[in-house]
């Protein structure tokens, strides 16, 4: 079992580091929700609602490539950044170790 570190930048700019399992087939969205972050994930992880929008502050290049569907959904958002992704489309993987994300989606 390989655990990785996921850093989350909070709204006050402090950073929380979380240990995440990579052998359970869960997405970054599911992991963040499981850690009580305010993510709605209305569509449940199908890249259809854009409520799990994150901006990747560090480690963007280590992520799997963005699909057309994911990009099209991100493109509807008013606050997209150059390193925006939908957390539901990012399955936790050893190569994602030590990425830093900021949650941008509509929270609770």
């Amino acid at each position: 079992m390989v655990d990785i570190k996921i850093n989350v930048q909070n709204s006050d700019n402090s950073v929380t580091t979380l240990e995440a399992p990579t052998d359970m087939g869960i997405s970054l969205m599911e992991f963040l929700k499981g850690n009580d972050y305010d993510i709605l994930a209305t569509c449940g992880g199908m890249a259809l609602c854009a409520t799990c929008h994150v901006s990747v502050l560090q480690g963007f290049d280590a992520l799997p490539p963005i699909t057309d569907d994911e990009y099209a959904m991100l493109d509807t958002l008013p606050n997209i950044t150059d390193t925006s992704r939908l957390a539901c489309q990012l399955k936790l993987h050893p190569e994602m170790d030590n990425i830093t994300v900021k949650i941008m989606g509509d929270g609770n």
Binding site: L40, T42, C43, M46, L48, D75, T76, L77, P78
Partner: protein, 336 residues
């Protein structure tokens, strides 16, 4: 005015199944949904996606499930109000509730069942200073209901999705001046719409501003101008306009339910798991909109909640009446 036994807010899968469960107990239902059709998220967001965890269906398409639920509810002749949002809920006495929608429709019910899923889908707003100053008829809208309203007027549309493209094409014939502002270099919408917009821009019928973000809105009584910045060149511009329509998709919000004095925890309604009743006697909450210990947001859990709610609602409506549970396998489904 509509009179019913159960007023069900939300016509998603759980609201629809509640009609059936209530129907078995001879209670009539009226459903109200902000969306223009039944099915909730299933029809609106993912009609063509397969669902694998409905008991008895190894796989079923979301829309197929909705169609089947509608059919299952048919013998009980439910009535519907679509495209309206319930704004107020008032209790006038025991088993006497009055609900009023944003369009003024009044529903009188003995019991209220909130099956609102994640709430209403409301337009996403960009983070631009002063935006709220010009809402409510002062120049800024987030959806277009009557395009004729914009005839001969100047308009700025912001956004890069299909709705921004489609409305730009449509309104280019109606507005005297139309500017489409998009954050990035290119559009990812339907290729046909993208080509049409590009062609209209070449012909000078749409002013297209790419790599551009809105920064501010100005005006005295009404909206008069929109300021923006080019993300590449950092060049700032202001465009004089009568209307601004930001089109950035929809996002779910709890909405007016928040103000009904229900106990709410993290955007969900707290319920008693004995019967999914809320803190207001006669008001129930079922499906994704409720919360309790070990809550799972699954359709199948919502179905269970609908069954328990119905039996409790029956007792609430008929105090003192003894009722024995009957099985459909023994009694069938008796239309009324």
């Amino acid at each position: 005015m509509i009179t019913t036994d159960l007023a069900i807010i939300g016509a998603g899968p759980v609201g629809l199944f509640a009609i059936f469960e209530a129907g078995l107990l001879k209670m009539r239902c009226h459903l109200i949904d902000y969306l223009p059709q039944a099915g909730g998220q299933l029809s609106e967001i993912y009609p063509k996606k397969p669902i694998y965890d409905i008991p008895g269906y190894p796989t079923v398409l979301a829309q197929e499930l909705v169609d089947n639920l509608l059919k299952q509810a048919e013998p009980f002749h439910p009535t519907y109000t679509f495209g309206e949002r319930v704004e107020t809920l008032e209790k006038r006495g025991e088993a006497d509730f009055v609900l009023v929608t944003n369009m003024g429709t009044e529903v009188h019910a003995k019991v209220v069942v909130i099956a609102g899923g994640l709430g209403c889908f409301e337009p996403r707003k960009p983070e631009v200073e002063g935006l709220t100053r010009f809402e409510n008829g002062k120049g800024i809208n987030y959806m277009i209901l009557d395009p004729e309203k914009y005839r001969g007027q100047r308009m700025v549309i912001a956004g890069g999705g299909d709705s921004a493209l489609d409305w730009s094409i449509f309104l280019s014939d109606i507005c005297s001046e139309l500017t489409l502002v998009h954050r990035s270099e290119s559009f990812r919408g339907a290729p046909d719409s993208v080509n049409k917009v590009m062609k209209l821009a070449e012909e000078g019928r749409i002013k297209l501003l790419l790599n551009t973000n809105l920064t501010a809105v100005d005006g005295s009584e009404r909206l008069e101008s929109v300021s923006m910045i080019n993300a590449k060149t950092q060049e700032k511009t202001a465009i004089a306009t009568d209307h601004l329509i930001p089109l950035f998709g929809l996002s779910p919000k709890l909405g007016p339910i928040e103000k009904w004095n229900l106990n709410i925890d993290k955007n969900a309604i707290e319920v008693n798991t004995d019967d999914y009743s809320t803190n207001i006697p006669g008001v129930y909450a079922i499906g994704d909109i409720n919360t309790y210990k070990n809550k799972l947001k699954l359709i199948l859990c919502g179905f269970h909640e609908a069954a328990l709610m119905s039996h409790s609602a029956y007792k609430y409506m008929n105090p003192g009446v003894k009722y024995t549970m009957k099985y459909t396998t023994v009694n069938g489904v008796n239309e009324f």
